[in-house]
Structure formats: structure tokens, C-alpha cells
Amino acid sequence: MTPILDLRSVSAGYGPFHALFDVSLSVQPGEAVALLGANGVGKTTVARVATGLIAPSEGSVWVNGTEMTGAATFRFARAGVAHAPEGRSVFATLSVEENLRLSFRQSKGRRGVAPALDQAFTQFPSLARRRRMLAGDLSGGEQRMLSMARVLVEAPRLLVADELSLGLAPIIVDEIYNDLARLRSEGTALLIVEQQISHALALCDRVVLLEHGTVIWEGPTEDAEARVVAKIFDHAAGEEPPA
């Protein structure tokens, strides 16, 4: 089967700084992959390469069988790769409704906007109540919901989600993971970057462990659990994890 996302020996960085070294990673259609690792190991950088936000300095990026190395970000989006970036992921200067309009207009065309809006607002009544509010004035949880609403209405082929749970209340995190599970059942492949590993492990089939910008382990979730837990705790104790 052609993977929906395929990174082949990718190296990438920021100006003179190298963040990723020879990373290979693939996501099959409908599969859910968790990308785990301590702070600063390069998870976000992988997510950025996978969604076209930065071009790799070496190696290649394939989406659904087509080479996309160095292609513009919007081409990744049009090929069905959606990204929920780290931190704020909505337009703060646009209203809630305008945020949704912007993306529906692109994906569904002029006529598709109104039904898509209806769908989003029935699924997220709290957003409907705030539709005229500036998205920048929403709480962190509501902003997350807004970016999820966008994705849920127009299920992409692949969603790359970077630390969705960061700074959110546990109830909201649960809610967001419910949404992700639903997306999965609709056939969307997931690449999940997470610090809260329990949620990620419950959702995903496969785990990729990253350290110092390289993949140090990958395998099915069942085999990963002990290893991941050990790794995180070892790190907390300041020791090197087992190779």
C-alpha cells in the first residue's frame, strides 16, 4: 500500500542549526502513529517537514505516492494533509465564523460554505454562541475546538497534530481525543505528537521514538509502552535511556 506520508532519510534544521538527522517515518492510510520524545528532540520539526512548513535539507518527502520535497505548504494542504500546529492554531484577528469560512471556502467551494458552517456549529454549540467573537479572545480550549471543528467537517487524509493537549483542562483533552478517535473511524490517518503519552498510546497503533533528532525506536504500541515509560522516567532521573 502507498503510505499517505513518507519521510525518507530526512535531515532538516533552522538556518545553521541542524535539528533532524536522517529521519525516516511513514504513515499508512487510516493508521494512527504517535511521535514521542522529550522536549526539544525535534518532534515539532518532524511535523513541520511533514506539512511542508519547512523543506528538508536532505532526503525526500512523499505524500500519497507523490514526491513533495520542497513543495509549498498549500500544496500539502491540497493533497489532504491537515496540520494542527503547536500553540495557537487559529487566526486571532478573524472571528470564529470567519476562521471557519476561510477554510470551508477553500475546501468546499462557495456553495459548500453554508452547510459546512451549519454542521460545524451543530457539532460545537459553544462555538455557535461565540461565532462573532474574535478567535483571539477565545480561551485556549475553545481555540482548540475551533481548529478541530475545521478538521472534523472536512476530514483530511492525514492530520498532523502537535501537542494538542498542551495547557488544556483534562476534560477538554478527553473531548479532543474523542474527536480524534472519531476522525480515525472516518478513515483519516493520524500523526500525533504528544507529551501526555497515555492518551496518545490509547489512540495509536504504532509509536515512533525520537531522540536528538533521530529515530531511536519504532514499533507497535504494545511493545512500546514499557519502553516509553522507562524512557520518560529515565530522562526525569537524568540518566541515559537504554539503547
Partner: protein, 700 residues
């Protein structure tokens, strides 16, 4: 009863009279808001774009004899959008994720460069007194009196009609079309827009084309108001229009329209009633004479300072800015100690050689230019402090310098004070003014500081300079603001070489002071502030206080430079030296060549005074051939190239904020160090592995 009717008639006449200029302000304000909303650029070059279309229109009509329609088509609907597309493609596309201050600086550079570039390319020469014509026949000669009381010309009606129609059209575009939303999204975060599958480049190209057409249209419509077509007048209008746009917090098109009309009417009221009231209340007379021309600048300043809503429209940072690598640090902080010594030795030898040549060989005119460049270097250090160290754009350094100059003039003229003492007092007065000015604006964000200082510069220009106790009033108009050269004991600095020595001493002392401050606590504080205001507040740095300090110091240096310039030219020469538009060019020069280092200021000083003589008049070839007759025929090149080259030079500010000098220094350092490494390695037995550091770097 009679009085009431009279008052009523005056009122309505003033009201109607205010509408035509008001609609001109409104046109530009709407265009400015449009550009800001759709490109995120605080586009001070809007006036320059308007100028270009207006100039082409009149060149085509008057010189080439074209009809109205083809001239309008080419100037507004072809040239303007093409210019906008070029600006977007070559410049602003690459700056989308730069700071708003960086974009503002580039826009200032373009303000200086674009009109000159156009004039040179098209061969346009503004002719004094040749009144441009409008876009409808009989625009200035056919009048209508729709309400009685006041007669509108066709041109005026046209401008008003276009302002209203365009505002409605744009409002509809934003409300009903997808592109309006996309343009706003791109302004906040081009990358996040692309994540939605939208091609950000295309959207921003469209927005630049649109706002440029609008600039061109505004230019052609308002040109008939001017006696002579001149780029600074357009710039002036833009500043007035910003006041109108600020009423709508720079984002509301309808309020920009209302703000423009309101401003026009308000000024008309002031012009109608103040003279009447001044007859009965003499107290009002000075206000009537002085304040009326400055109303827009006062309004702008007051809006910025008093209305929190304007300041609150700080742009949202791009949430995806973390994708960009961090900016580099100063080259001199990275270089090795050996290289530092080597560059210092080289600099000293170089300047001693130049100095020797100047003192033994130069004639009067070269001596003048060299002295001027040294003085300007001192003056430009004030920009090093405020822009390079504090990261603020001040557009009123010309006013501070003029304060220094005028103080010397007043003190020596009225009290016969020694000019050297007066120069120090002048610098102190300028420092005090700068500190005072910085108090109300100390909490404004970067772009707003630039606009507030610009408003101050225009206020100074319109009001202060005309006051007898500043600019000297009527007598100086006849005699000029004359100032003698100083004498120190036995040395008469009327001698040009002696004065050059004084200028050099002042520059060296000022440079050492700036370096001292840059490397000291204040410098570190300011650097921290430039990095992140919030972060530095949380470690107990007060941004307000350091900012006031930076302004005071900068004002002092500017005042000192202005005083020196005045003594050197033995005249203040306000318009030539210190007008707001001239001061824009200073900023452009310093920023182009390097706003963070003393070398940058020195090179900017040299460039200002010497570039024209050496490069544009071809003197350099005269030296090479040892014969001024053999300077190639293409010289002299138009002095406008100075504006073009350095104006466009600001573009690299956004990419290399350290400036050209720094950029080249850094490159030279890298090469020198590579060379030294290679030399060292060929001698050493085991060469170090060049690729080894990569893995070290990768470890966070």
C-alpha cells in the same frame, strides 16, 4: 436674528469648504487602511506610489499630448498595479514574516527611492507653477452650487464621489468575497493561511495590485490641488491621512472616510472662526497663526497618546513564526580576539592615511565635504542609539538636530554667547525635548513610535520653526539664521582645517560614548528590551525608563550634530538640512549601512556627503586618470541616484537587520578566519576535522 443667520451661513460654508480637502484626506486614508489591512505593511510609500501615477499621467497629458482616457488607463490601471506587483514580488513577499518595524523601514526607503527612480527612468522634471489638470474636462473651471453658499469644482466633486464609491466597493469586497477574508488571513499568518490550502503568494500579490491601483487613482485625483507636483507634498498628505485613518484604528474603511471628511471640515472651521474670534479675543491670535496648519499632526499625536484603542490594535504575532531561524548576533561579538586587533589596526591606519591626504591635499570644497561627513557621522550616531540599540524608529531626528542648531543661533545672536557653549546647551535642550517627547509615547509599540515622532517632526516643521524664539521669525527670513564659527583660545576655528579637527574630536568622543553605552548596562537593557518586552519586564527591567534614556541620549547626539552642522555652514539652513523629508533620508542611509555600529554611522555620514561627489560626479575616475578632463561622459549621473540606491538599500535591513556594513564584515570575518584556519592547519601535524562540530551543535 441677523447674527444667527450669519453664523448659520458661515457654518454651512465652512462645512462645505471642508469637504473637498476632506475627501482628499479620506481617499488617501482609505487607501492606506486598505494597504495596511491587506498587506500588513504600514505603507508610508503610499504617497510615493500616488506620486508616480500622478506624474506619469501629467507627463503623458502635457508632454506627450495623450488623451485623458489612455493617460488614465496607463498611469492608474497599468503602471500602478505593475509597480505594486513588483514591490510585492521583489520585496514584501520576502518580508512577510519580518517585524512590522522592519517593513516600515523598507517602506520609508521606498518613499525616498521610488519618486527619484521614476523621475530618472521617465525623464520627468516637475515644473514649478505648472498646475496639473484633473481627469475630467473643465475640472478646475466648471463650478456647481448644489446647496448655494459654496461652489464645488468638478474636480472636487469627482474626488468626493470617488471616495464614497470606492469605500462602498471595498467594504462590499471585504464583506462578500472570499478574497477579502484571505487577504486579512495572510496578514496575520501567511503560513497558517497556506495550511488551509490557500496560495498565500497569490493573495498578497492581489492585495498589492489592488492597493496600488488605489494609490494611483488617489494620486491622479488629488494632483490638481498642487501648484507643482512634488513627492514630499504627497508624503505630507499621507501623514495627514494617517491621522484620519487612525480615527478608524487603521482597520475600518468607513471610519477612515469619516475621519478624512471630519478632519477637512474641522480645519475649515478653524480657518473660518479662529480669525473672527481672534479679533475679539487677542489671546487667540497666536493660536490662529500657528496651530491651524498643525491640526492634523496634533490630532494624530493626540489620538496615539490619548486613545488606548489605537495602541491596542497591535498586530497579532504570527503563531508560526517559530518556523524561522533566529537572527544572527553582531559580527564583532563573534570574531576572535586576534581578528579584532587586526581590524582595529587596519581601521586606524586607514583613517590616518585618509586624514593625511585630506589635510595636505584637499581643496576648499573637498575639505567642506569631508568635514560635513564627519559632523553627519556624529549626528547619525543618534540614530545608532535610538534605532540600533533601542530598536525604535524615530522620524524626528531632524527636529532634534534643528533644536541644537537653532539654540546656537539664538544664544549667539541674542546674547553673544560663545557658540561652543551654546552648542552644548543646544544638545542639552534637544536631549530634554527628546526625553519629554518620549514620555507620552514610551508605551507605544514600534510602528506607533515611528508615527508619533513623524507627527512631531511635522508639528515642529509647521509651527515651531516659525516662532521668533526658535527659527528667528521675520528677520531671519531676510538675513538667514547666521551663526559665527567658534574660537578656542588661540585657535580660530574659522579656519576650515581647524574646524575639521574639532569635528573629528567630537565624533571620536561621541563614538566612544556610544560604544561604552552599548557594551554597558544600559546597552544590555536596551538589547533585552528589543528582544522581548514582556520577558525583560519579568526580570525587572523597566522598558519605559530605558526608552526615555535612549531618547534623551539620542536627542543629545542629534542636537550636538545639528549645532556642529550649523557652525560649519555658519547658518542653520533649516529647510535644506533638517526638514522632515530630509531626515527620512538620514534614517534610510544609516539603516542601509548599519544601524548598530559606529562604523555604520561613519559610513552613512561619508555616504551622505561624499557619495555624490565621488561616485555620481565621477571624481573617482578623475583620480584614477589623474585628470579631471578624462572623467567618462556618462558623468555626472543624476544626484537622484543617491536616493534610489540607499532607498533600495533599506530592503536588506529586513533580511540583515545588522546592515550592509555588518553583513560584509561578517562575511569578511568568516573568510579571514577560514584562511587563518587553513594556514594554521597546513603547519599543524594533524588537521582538525572540519565537520566535527555539526553533531555537537545538534545536541540541545
Amino acid at each position: 436674528m441677523v447674527l444667527a443667520t450669519a453664523l448659520g451661513e458661515d457654518l454651512s460654508r465652512a462645512f462645505l469648504q471642508g469637504l473637498p480637502p476632506g475627501s482628499v484626506y479620506a481617499l488617501i486614508a482609505i487607501g492606506f487602511v486598505l494597504a495596511y489591512k491587506t498587506s500588513g505593511v504600514f505603507n508610508l510609500a503610499f504617497g510615493a506610489q500616488a506620486y508616480v501615477s500622478a506624474a506619469l499621467y501629467f507627463q503623458a497629458r502635457l508632454e506627450w499630448g495623450w488623451g485623458i482616457l489612455p493617460a488614465l488607463l496607463v498611469s492608474v490601471f497599468i503602471l500602478a498595479p505593475v509597480l505594486g506587483l513588483i514591490l510585492e514580488r521583489l520585496i514584501f513577499r520576502h518580508l512577510r514574516t519580518s517585524s512590522s518595524v522592519a517593513k516600515l523601514v523598507v517602506a520609508i526607503g521606498l518613499t525616498v527611492a521610488i519618486p527619484s527612480l521614476f523621475d530618472v527612468l521617465v525623464g520627468f522634471e516637475p515644473v514649478a507653477g505648472q498646475t496639473p489638470t484633473g481627469i475630467i474636462p473643465g475640472g478646475a473651471s466648471v463650478f456647481y452650487q448644489p446647496v448655494g453658499v459654496y461652489a464645488f469644482s468638478r474636480d472636487e466633486l469627482m474626488a468626493m464621489g470617488v471616495a464614497v464609491v470606492v469605500m462602498l466597493g471595498l467594504a462590499a469586497l471585504f464583506r462578500f468575497s472570499g478574497i477579502g477574508l484571505q487577504m486579512r488571513a495572510v496578514v496575520e499568518s501567511p503560513r497558517m493561511t497556506e495550511l488551509n490550502g490557500i496560495q498565500a503568494d497569490r493573495v498578497s500579490a492581489f492585495s498589492w495590485a489592488l492597493s496600488s491601483v488605489f494609490a494611483g487613482l488617489a494620486g491622479v485625483l488629488i494632483a490638481p490641488r498642487f501648484n507643482t507636483l512634488a513627492a514630499p507634498d504627497f508624503f505630507n498628505l499621507v501623514v495627514v491621512a494617517i491621522a484620519a485613518a487612525a480615527v478608524g484604528r487603521l482597520i475600518s474603511l468607513p471610519r477612515a472616510l469619516a475621519g478624512g471628511l471630519g478632519l477637512g471640515v474641522f480645519i475649515a472651521f478653524a480657518n473660518t472662526f479662529l480669525p473672527e474670534w481672534a479679533l475679539s479675543y487677542p489671546i487667540l491670535a497666536p493660536i490662529q497663526d500657528n496651530v491651524a496648519p498643525a491640526v492634523p499632526f496634533l490630532v494624530l499625536f493626540a489620538l496615539l497618546v490619548l486613545w488606548p484603542a489605537v495602541r491596542a490594535t497591535k498586530e497579532q504575532a504570527d503563531p508560526l513564526s517559530g518556523v524561522d531561524p533566529p537572527p544572527p548576533s553582531l559580527a564583532s561579538h563573534e570574531r576572535s580576539a586576534g581578528l579584532t586587533v587586526a581590524t582595529r589596526v587596519f581601521a586606524v591606519v586607514f583613517f590616518l592615511t585618509v586624514g593625511l591626504v585630506v589635510f595636505t591635499q584637499a581643496d576648499v570644497s573637498w575639505l567642506f565635504l569631508v568635514t560635513q561627513s564627519v559632523i553627519l557621522s556624529t549626528l547619525f550616531l543618534s540614530i545608532t542609539v535610538i534605532t540600533g540599540l533601542a530598536g525604535q524608529i524615530s522620524l524626528c531626528q531632524g527636529s532634534f538636530a534643528a533644536i541644537g542648531g537653532f539654540t546656537v543661533f539664538q544664544l549667539s545672536d541674542r546674547y553673544g554667547m560663545s557658540v561652543l557653549v551654546a552648542a552644548l546647551i543646544g544638545a542639552a535642550v534637544a536631549a530634554a525635548c527628546a526625553a519629554l517627547l518620549s514620555l507620552p509615547i514610551r508605551r507605544l509599540g514600534g510602528v506607533w513610535v515611528a508615527i508619533a515622532t513623524l507627527a512631531f517632526a511635522f508639528f515642529f516643521d509647521a509651527v515651531m520653526v516659525k516662532l521668533p524664539w526658535v527659527g528667528g521669525g521675520g528677520t531671519s527670513l531676510l538675513q538667514g539664521t547666521r551663526v559665527p564659527r567658534p574660537t578656542i583660545g588661540p585657535w580660530d576655528l574659522g579656519n576650515d582645517k581647524a574646524f575639521l579637527v574639532l569635528a573629528l574630536v567630537v565624533f571620536v568622543v561621541a563614538s566612544l560614548a556610544v560604544i561604552q553605552i552599548r557594551e554597558g548596562t544600559t546597552g544590555r537593557t536596551l538589547r533585552a528590551l528589543r528582544g522581548s518586552e514582556l520577558a525583560s519586564q519579568s526580570i525587572g527591567i523597566s522598558p519605559a525608563r530605558s526608552r526615555v534614556m535612549a531618547f534623551a541620549l539620542s536627542g543629545f547626539l542629534a542636537g550636538l550634530g545639528g549645532a556642529m552642522l550649523t557652525m560649519h555652514q555658519e547658518n542653520v539652513n533649516y529647510t535644506l538640512n533638517f526638514s522632515p523629508f530630509a531626515a527620512l533620508f538620514w534614517l534610510v542611509l544609516v539603516v542601509s549601512l548599519g544601524s548598530r555600529t559606529v562604523e555604520g554611522a561613519a559610513q552613512a555620514g561619508a555616504a551622505y556627503a561624499l557619495f555624490e561627489a565621488i561616485v555620481l560626479r565621477g571624481a573617482v575616475f578623475g583620480w584614477i586618470f589623474r585628470n579631471t578632463d578624462r572623467i567618462p561622459g556618462i558623468f555626472p549621473i543624476s544626484p537622484k541616484w543617491r536616493f534610489i540606491i540607499f532607498g533600495l538599500g533599506t530592503i536588506q535591513f529586513a533580511r540583515h537587520p545588522e546592515g550592509l556594513v555588518e553583513f560584509n564584515t561578517r562575511r569578511a570575518h568568516r573568510r579571514a578566519e577560514a584562511l587563518m584556519a587553513r594556514l594554521g592547519r597546513s603547519r599543524a601535524a594533524s588537521p582538525p576535522e572540519p565537520d566535527a562540530p555539526v553533531t555537537e551543535e545538534s545536541v540541545p
